[in-house]
Point group: C2
Chain length 423, copies 2
């Protein structure tokens, strides 16, 4: 069983590798036609997709999956419409392939062009979210890459039915259907075997919790783009507009607390802490918030019922709910030091009207996104105008922060001469 | 012993990690001052460096190292002058940090800037070439990165003496000397332990043969930039200027045969093969060349003494000397197919006056560098005008082809608002 699952997964990966040059060479119009056809097939095959999903839901109920998981797994006609709209949104984006990344001429007359090219074969490893299947397949096709989809076993039938839409659309456009491959989730050894095949796969993107990402990174010989947690900070400076600061902190914490770009720790300059802390504490508490506060914060906040003592472990916690940590800091340098010690280099914000403090924060906070006088919640590919997002990288290699279509490309140098020789 | 080597290496890596923020924040003038001082110290400490090198050479002779290896290891006053010139050449390059990689404004008024930042801590693993120590330390400092140098044991004393110049220069400029760390080559387990520390090190660059690169990739949890072999092709098209083709092929093969961007396989279009093959064969042979030729080539070349039959194994061979493979192909598509089957995606050239053939070759050959009517030997960071080269990547992730200072940076998004909130 182990051996046959490995053989099967390897076969799918080899077929995707063979399909990759056709995707790489495909014209923009051809790729867009595949996406239009995939969206149409999602409508045509609605019944088959929903019945595959019903099988997953039935198995999931039998296995007593949590209601939250079952909800994420559930497909409805409305959710299929959203998926279709998503495919269309990717289709109308500019083609990232063949973009010029620079052109120059050397003194000897050689013309050098740096041109974007697809990566080749992507492997996406994810959990029980069928929409990831549609999103990643669309982004791969648009960027000229073949893709291997390895979703969670809970969504196996749904993912398969969705992938078939893309495979049929590829076939209908004269492109190899094997450019979208699904890896059956039955056997973990199959995915571990694939993670050694750097001859077949060029980039691995695990989309899931830290333990999944860590396991993939430990096993992989292929480059992995990681998305670890977001321990995001808002620092309220001595020179902050406190009304603006209150709005930004409430937005960063409460607008959608369960996501990676929500604020998890509030840092307040000691000068404004006495006036700002009670005000923001009460504002957060009125929305259900709870604060793990440092001793100086507690001295200011007194016996307010929503305040608990903070330990260093709290500063490293991604709450993903309405709780947060609070600490009073002496100045912007202390804020930076706290962020670089306890943060996750995801997204950190400063609220200040002082250009000098802003410049220090922007320069010294080494995070993928540094926000000035706005909320951490804007750290997102759509909000940045990238049009789509395959993930948010907490790596610094290859791609960092919100990853759009461009992050799924590499480049080549094209050097044109008239017979120049090296001497 | 194993445990203490691991502890020692980890201590050096932790110190480099702690030093990284200071390098990251260093102004251009401060980094340039460190490089100027390092170059000066290379002169001041000439006696100490040469005597450390003499120790390495003595041990090497006792261990019966090959004359070639001993030559690469040997430092002379002239070679030290070359090193000093190299540090100066890096010093005068533009600072890659803080470069704007794009700026745009969103409809809600958010100003988004994508700005280059250093990677953090680099680990370079290399063999017995002391000049790599100087080159990599210079490039790391200029790009604001801390660096861990793990050279071969044959050059241990030389590398240490050279690294001290950079460490003293850092100290003299008020920057942490630990930003340039040396990992003693005594114990392999120490380097294997470091390759797991993705909390301390951000990028690994092995500079050496394929077996070194493979071992590092297999053991590493940190991203590795690989430089595998260069199996470079020149394709002489039906529409080639044959005089130009002859010059390009001779240059690509003979100008410096022992390097990765030298031609290893010549592909000749069937239309011009009868006239071109004897001419180029004799030209290569007159320079000491030997051809491993396909059956169709042999039919044309007849009983010339420099011709041997080619097997598929020859097409995958990086000769690094005056031998090469030769194959007749039907058209540009067959040339592309050969290159994508047997090549290493390093550098491949077409010689042709036909824009259609050139366009197909440029689009379909997925190599880091594609040369049109010029020699593969130009595939090089200096020749491309990058000013310096930390290596040539055969990867497609993060950096591809010749890697200059820019490849040692990542980026951050700086988002500036006036209190915008997410709704």
């Amino acid at each position: 069983m182990g051996r046959s699952a490995i053989a099967e997964a390897t076969k799918v990966a080899m077929a995707a590798r063979r399909a990759a040059p056709d995707l790489m060479a495909a014209a923009t119009a051809a790729k867009d036609a595949v996406l239009a056809k995939s969206a149409a097939l999602l409508v045509d095959r609605r019944k088959a997709v929903l019945s595959a999903n019903a099988r997953d839901l039935k198995i999931g109920e039998r296995q007593s999956l949590s209601p939250a998981l079952l909800d994420r797994l559930r497909l409805t006609p409305e959710r299929l419409d959203e998926m279709r709209a998503m495919i269309d949104a990717v289709r109308v984006l500019p083609d990232p392939v063949d973009r010029s990344l620079g052109e120059w001429t050397r003194p000897n007359g050689l013309a050098i062009a740096k041109v974007a090219v697809p990566l080749g074969v992507l492997l996406i490893i994810y959990e029980a979210r069928p929409n990831v299947t549609v999103e990643c397949a669309s982004l791969a096709i648009k960027s000229g890459n073949a893709i291997l989809l390895r979703g969670g076993s809970e969504a196996a039938h749904s993912n398969q039915a969705l992938a078939v839409c893309f495979q049929e659309a590829l076939r209908a456009s004269g492109l190899p259907a094997t450019a979208v491959g699904t890896i059956p989730p039955a056997d973990r050894r199959a995915i571990y075997a694939l993670l050694k095949r750097d001859d077949l796969i060029h980039l691995v993107i695990p989309r899931g919790g830290p333990s999944l990402i860590r396991a993939v990174t430990a096993k992989s010989r292929i480059p992995v783009i990681k998305h670890y947690q977001g321990i995001c900070h808002v620092y309220v400076d001595a020179a902050a507009d406190l009304a603006m600061a209150e709005q930004i902190v409430v937005n960063a914490k409460c607008q959608r607390p369960g996501v990676c770009n929500a604020m998890e720790c509030l840092l307040v300059n000691a000068v404004v802490a006495p006036s700002f802390l009670p005000r923001i504490g009460d504002a957060l508490a009125s929305r259900g918030g709870q604060l793990y506060a440092c001793p100086r914060s507690r001295a200011i906040l007194g016996k307010r019922p929503y305040v608990r003592p903070a330990t260093p472990a709290h500063y490293r916690t991604e709450y993903l709910d309405l709780r947060c940590s609070v600490r009073v800091v002496e100045d912007v340098h202390a804020a930076v030091a706290h962020i670089m010690t306890y943060g996750s280099q995801h997204t950190d914000a400063i609220v200040s009207q002082d250009p000098a403090a802003i410049a220090i924060f922007v320069k010294d906070v080494d995070s993928a996104s540094v926000m000035v006088n706005t909320t951490t919640r804007f750290s997102d590919g759509f909000q940045y105008g990238l049009g789509a997002e395959i993930g948010i990288s907490t790596d610094k290699i290859h791609a960092r922060g919100p990853m759009g279509l461009d992050s799924l490309t590499s480049y080549k140098y094209v050097v044109t001469g008239q017979g120049q020789l090296r001497t």
